[in-house]
């Protein structure tokens, strides 16, 4: 055993490996991505990026039925996509252990909503475990696999951003030798026709009762008895904040947040003068406890919005003042930006210039909504762009479609955009769809996808032919164009919008961050020629600045994509000469 500094995500992958895990599956999503990235590093684990979370869970369930301990990981909204197999997997149960990780994002550091996925445990009738740091993330993953096999059910491991992405010390051990279980046909268990499902539902209810009984004695739920004037029930990252903020109060830490241990909670409550439940987002635990007639405070003083921090705990419970010192206001903010050389910039510059209504989607390109490009007018969920654009046309008419586009990345298109495109053809709108094919799933940290030609283990795989796929959907007008060729892109965009029927533009250029080898040749503004019109600044490139009322290219930031030189109306921006380059090399 050695202690290692691990993120919560690394710890889950490690725990899975130590528990003899064999199959790890996911679609990338912050804050869950690194679980599968790390699982893929272990030789004994087969790891996959699947097109979306639904497929991931189906593969994980299949592998578990097939006798291999399996792990399926996703961000909270990913579980919405995977909800269909999730609910029925509770009925079928498993063969070898199956853990479903839901990494929630209170505070929405990188998400479109902050839904509380503990509710999925209750509604899908599955147990939910919630670790509070990396050591527990590792241990709970192992416990969850064992629990899954003992109770013949998938187990949800709920993380939050602060657990997934915080690093703390965890004991690591060796890999357990867990044999592959035999696969047996069992139609009554795995074929969920009504007659079988009715019988399985009885089994599910029995499992839940057994799990509730298990929760009463499980070491996952621990009582730390101290001052009994205040008792706090908590779980996950909040437990660590409670220990920080109020180290002297009594705490009931729930490592298992569904089903809850009624006797343990009732007993704890009876010994406390004043009882609180502190939980981020919804009053999930609180509502259940209240339904038992126990008096408890929580959602009456804590907000359902965002994260809870140590200072919130002391101020709400002790009435102490919140320490001053929030982020300074009155100075320029620093929002995230598309990188210098990002191919998306060219596409959004063209959309902005034509004043299009842009139905957007989830990815780096969502940054196209920010100034100065400000060209995204809706963004709902993975793959929604095409369906929303189609709906806009059905509401506003064909003329409106002529100034509307749907925009999404290739990974998002494969995830769930393609069904929207099939609908566009089937129900005959004239939506123009721009697929930003940058050869990677960039936003989550550059994972492979079916169109990149590599799999999660880094081995080569067949490349999905996007053009052929789009044509097979029935789209007649399909054009491939380089988004950093301003003139060509604008021409294709106008032609596609004018086309009276569905059109797809495949905007193809790899993410600028993928190229780690080329030495960038920065561009340069000729001060004599520059008229200070600052049209170049409208591209929103972080390498451009205003300097002495002229445009200036910061050579440390510029990667030489040349977009600014193409939009400059008087050709004042050009690539640096070879002589300048050598000078720069010499200065190193």
């Amino acid at each position: 055993m050695t202690k290692k500094l691990l993120t919560g995500n690394e710890a889950v992958a490690r725990g899975f490996w130590e528990a003899g895990g064999r199959v790890a599956v996911a679609y990338p999503g912050t804050p869950s991505t690194e679980i599968t990235e790390n699982a893929a590093k272990y030789e004994e684990i087969h790891a996959e990026w699947t097109p979306n979370e639904k497929v991931a869970l189906e593969v994980g369930l299949g592998a578990a039925i097939g006798g291999a301990r399996s792990l399926v990981s996703m961000k909270h909204v990913g579980l919405n996509v995977a909800a269909d197999p999730l609910f029925t997997a509770a009925y079928t149960g498993i063969n070898a252990g199956l853990v479903v990780v839901s990494a929630d994002d209170p505070g929405m550091h990188s998400s479109q909503n902050e839904q509380d996925n503990r509710h999925y445990g209750r509604s899908a009738k599955l147990p939910v475990l919630e670790p509070s740091d990396s050591a527990e993330a590792l241990a709970y993953t192992k416990i969850a696999l064992q629990m899954s096999e003992n109770f013949d059910t998938p187990v949800i491991l709920r993380l939050t951003t602060r657990v997934s992405h915080s690093q703390s010390l965890a004991e690591t051990g060796d890999r357990e030798d867990v044999a592959l279980r035999e696969y047996k046909n069992d139609m009554a268990k795995y074929v969920m026709i009504p007659a079988n499902a009715r019988r399985r539902h009885e089994v599910v209810e029995q499992h839940l009762e057994d799990l509730a009984e298990y929760a009463e004695t499980s070491r996952l739920n621990t009582v730390e008895l101290k001052d009994t004037n205040i008792g706090i029930i908590c779980s996950g990252a909040v437990y660590q904040y409670v220990k920080e903020a109020m180290p002297d109060v009594s705490v009931l830490k729930l490592g298992m947040v569904y089903p809850l241990p009624r006797k343990v909670i009732t007993n704890f409550a009876s010994r406390m003068k004043k009882l609180y439940v502190i939980e981020e987002l919804d009053p999930f635990i609180e509502d259940i406890i209240k339904s038992w007639g126990i008096e408890v405070s929580g959602s009456d003083i804590f907000s359902p919005l965002g994260e809870i921090f140590p200072d919130d705990i002391t101020s709400k419970i002790m009435g102490s003042e919140v320490t001053s010192g929030a982020e300074r206001t009155g100075i320029p903010g620093r929002p995230p930006v598309m990188c210098a050389g990002c191919p998306h910039r060219g596409a959004f510059y063209a959309m902005k210039k034509l004043g299009l209504v842009v139905s957007g989607d989830i990815g780096c390109y969502t940054l196209g909504c920010l100034p100065p490009l400000s060209s995204m007018h809706s963004c709902i969920c993975m793959g929604a762009s095409i369906g929303v654009a189609h709906g806009l046309e059905k509401a506003q008419g064909r003329k409106f479609a002529k100034k509307t586009v749907a925009v999404l990345g290739e990974s998002t298109f494969i995830h769930s955009g393609i069904t929207g495109l099939i609908n566009v053809v089937y129900n005959q709108s004239a939506v123009t769809t721009i697929i930003l094919d940058n050869s990677t799933t960039a936003m989550t940290g550059h994972q492979h996808n079916p169109a990149t030609g590599y799999n999660a283990k880094g081995a080569q795989s067949p490349v999905l032919d996007l053009e052929a796929m789009v044509k097979a959907c029935g789209v007649e007008k399909v054009t491939v164009v380089d988004p950093l060729d301003v003139e060509a892109f604008a021409k294709v965009l106008r032609e596609s919008l004018d086309f009276d029927g569905p059109a797809v533009i495949i905007s193809r250029r790899p993410c600028v961050l993928l190229d780690k080898k080329s030495v960038p040749i920065p561009f340069n503004v000729d001060n004599e020629t520059c008229i200070g019109c600052f049209i170049c600044l409208k591209t929103g490139c972080p390498a451009l600045e205003k300097k002495d009322n002229k445009a200036f290219v910061n050579p440390n930031q510029c990667v030489g994509c040349g977009l600014c030189s193409q939009v400059c109306p008087i050709d004042a921006i050009s690539s640096k000469t070879q002589a300048n380059l050598e000078e720069k090399g010499g200065a190193k």
Partner: protein, 191 residues
């Protein structure tokens, strides 16, 4: 040591704050401390304001630092130092890389980059060190080692032997850039 020490590393996405936090964590673990590190990945990485929190001591519970209790802020960029200054403890120290990186509102002309950042920090911070980490890094042989220059300065403020830092750098950075990084560290120590 019963008190938990709090270090806040602030900068702009892509500046190498994460590597810096990894080296600090290694140093304090080897010195026998418990440690927790919190950072946010994802959207904020793309050229946005980034923050990493490092806490170490006998036993650390929360990975999150309470505002007003930061012992040392290491700012990879001047404006970011100002943005997080309010988190400093009354006797806190701030190490500032004087490099300027214009945020998008400044580039587009909606906002102006304040001209008195150094003055404001000098006036408000209990103790502040300013250094041209980028220049020192370039002098050491690579602009990307500015993060290690700042760690050199940090090492002079913590009671952990320099050798421990050098050892951590050796095991953390790519061997190809080791010499540059050791030179950068020395430049930071001497600054």
């Amino acid at each position: 040591m019963s008190k938990t020490s709090n270090i806040l590393i602030v900068g702009v996405g892509g500046q190498g704050t994460i590597l810096a936090s990894r080296i600090i964590a290694k140093v304090v673990i080897d010195a026998g401390f418990d440690v927790k590190v919190s950072e946010i990945h994802g959207m904020s990485q793309r050229g946005g304001s980034v923050v990493t929190q490092v806490r170490f001591g006998e036993k650390v519970a929360s990975p999150i630092i309470r505002p007003g209790t930061v012992d040392i802020i290491i700012a990879f960029e001047k404006l970011e130092a100002l943005r997080w200054l309010g988190w400093l403890a009354p006797d806190g120290v701030v190490i500032v890389n004087t490099q300027e990186i214009f945020p998008m509102p400044v580039i587009t002309g909606v906002a102006e980059y304040p001209s008195d950042v150094v003055e404001t920090i000098t006036k408000e911070a209990p103790k502040a060190y300013f250094l041209d980490a980028l220049g020192l890094a370039m002098g050491a042989g690579n602009a990307k080692s500015a993060n290690v220059v700042l760690l050199g300065k940090l090492s002079t403020l913590l009671s952990i032997p320099q050798e421990a830092w050098i050892e951590a750098i050796k095991t953390t950075v790519n061997a190809r850039f080791l010499e540059v990084n050791l030179a950068a560290f020395a430049a930071g120590v001497a600054s």
